[in-house]
Amino acid sequence: MTLLAKDTIGVPPDDILTVKNVAVSLTKGGRTMVSGVSFGVRRGELFGIVGESGSGKTLFTLSLFGLHGETEISAGEITFDDKTLFEDGKRRRLGRILGCRIGFIPQDPYSSLNPSMRVGRQITEAIYLARGTPPNSRQCRDEAVALLAEVGIPEPETAFRQYPDQFSGGMRQRIVIAIALSQDPALLIADEPTTALDAFTQRRIIDLIVERSRRRNLSVILISHNLELLRQSVDHIAVLYSGQLMNIFETADLGRNPLHPYTEALFECIPSVNKTLTDIRSIPGEPAGAGFGLTGCAFADRCAYVQDICRTARLPENTGRADSFSACLLGKGVRT
């Protein structure tokens, strides 16, 4: 990855999404929830965003595309698919990107499908909105059935005519993925796509997303609080904590390079078969909550290495949108 030329002036040609110094604030009250986040997502790569509940990971990612009803971008620059989505405090050209270039897989498959519309119709509707193919046409139907087969729904012809409540959670999430894929997007945003599912189904859904991404050269942003799941499936992981970007690292490099203290602490919390319950560590203290700002490290109160500078200095920003970045004020973790 270091071989790729990265200039600070233009956008690297292989980035599908570039986020520069973006801050997100609430529409009501204007409180800044996430600030100073910069990273780039490559074409065809899987990009993970991890964080505890309330770290702002979902809020941030959804706000980038105006999918969050109560937030707005308050600063920074967003470039998607070589088009500027946001700069100089103004949003541009969002209309034609939603519904054809971006696919969205929400958290809970039990409530993210329209309960009174047949599954097939929901897919043909999406195809119609993206490309204008009449939803009742033979071509559109065939395409929808093919998509249901692609995401592994048994008997796609029958499923086409059924309602969402006739499917299990895992099957519903597959249908949601089929709907997202139907618009042939360049970027798929999966917001904790597996939290509502059991462990076995989780694995299969993630595998499906990874496999579809590789096959279609589709970029995916995978938001999750499950670090282990992300480590096994994505190329880069960004770690958010209390609205601050803590760490970005390449999963292939894990073990070779040092990590941000917070990321290390997160890895120690992962349960595994070799650990008993008492072996699993937890990070002492409570999360600071989103909206910490950029003065001082939000993790300082819980960090084992904390020094005075951690509470007063301005947090470093990932201005170069590097593949490896650590915001640690003590310089722990790799910064390129």
Binding site: G103, P106, N114, M117
Partner: protein, 280 residues
């Protein structure tokens, strides 16, 4: 959710089955009652006034010698069709205002809903009474008066349902798919509001029917000789001691119709209301 096709599977006991059958029969009478009437419902024959029920006149004759059964069958049309007219118009107006209000949001939403609140502060029958009296006593006036006083119920209800649906995740998903607002209303909000609306609607059928009959009874609705059920009771109330059939049959008709629709409403509520529905 495939509710619309399954209504025949809903009745859980004999009462609900009876209610469905009676409601269906009454609807048929409302449409074809005029053809079933054995005599002319408006033919006055003072020689046979207040004649007791017989095989020739199953429900007897009223104070002007008109056949009560024929009037009842023909009158079903007036009472029930005007009820449905009120419900239909109120549904369209109320829901349009409710949905619009939700989408407008802010002060416009507040304004519309406070107007509806103020409206609801008046007893609906009194409001309708005043309005009907102002329009002049006729069945049309009663219909307009009820529409006028009933819309806030649906505006409030649809406002509530729409706000609830808009907060659902599938609306966020729809936004991500690029679904324009009008398609959201047609394909997402109306179909999903249907289940809750149909319950209110069925329960309101009996309420509106009682209100129309009530207005006619008081004298601001349908006028004699029109065979509207409420007007028939009003016409026969002087003879209630000597000729019970003049009052009892239209009263029974109102009672049975209102009861059937109420039972159906309760049944639909049990089957469709998301807060009462057992987990599927």
């Amino acid at each position: 959710m495939t509710a619309r096709a399954e209504i025949l599977g809903y009745p859980k006991n004999a009462v609900e089955k009876m209610a469905l059958i009676i409601a269906a029969v009454i609807m048929l009478i409302a449409i074809f009652g005029g053809f079933l009437a054995p005599h002319d419902p408006l033919l006055i024959d003072f020689r046979s006034k207040l004649e007791a029920p017989s095989w020739e006149h199953l429900m007897g004759k009223d104070g002007s010698g008109r056949d009560v059964l024929s009037r009842l069958l023909t009158g079903a049309q007036l009472t029930i069709l005007s009820t449905f007219a009120v419900i239909a118009v109120v549904l369209v107006i109320g829901c349009s205002i409710g949905i619009l209000s939700t989408f407008l949001g802010g002060w416009a939403d507040n304004l519309l809903m406070r107007i509806a609140d103020i409206w609801l502060g008046f007893p609906p029958l009194i409001l309708a009474l005043g309005f009907a009296a102002a329009l002049g006593a006729s069945l049309e006036a009663a219909i307009w008066a009820l529409i006028f006083s009933w819309w806030p119920n649906y505006a409030r209800l649809s406002r509530m349902i729409t706000a609830d649906i808009l907060s659902q995740k599938y609306i966020a998903s729809a936004s991500a798919l690029g679904v324009p607002t009008w398609r959201k209303v047609v394909f997402y909000i109306i179909p999903n509001a249907f289940d809750v609306l149909i319950i209110q609607l069925t329960l309101d059928i009996s309420a509106v029917m009682l209100a129309i009959s009530g207005l006619s009874f008081i004298g601001v609705g349908a006028q004699i000789p029109a065979p509207e059920w409420g007007a028939m009771i009003a016409d026969g109330r002087n003879f209630v001691n000597t000729a019970w059939w003049v009052v009892a049959y239209p009263g029974l008709a109102i009672f049975v119709t209102a009861l059937s629709f109420n039972i159906i409403g309760d049944m639909l509520r049990r089957e469709l209301d998301p807060t009462l529905r057992r987990n599927t």
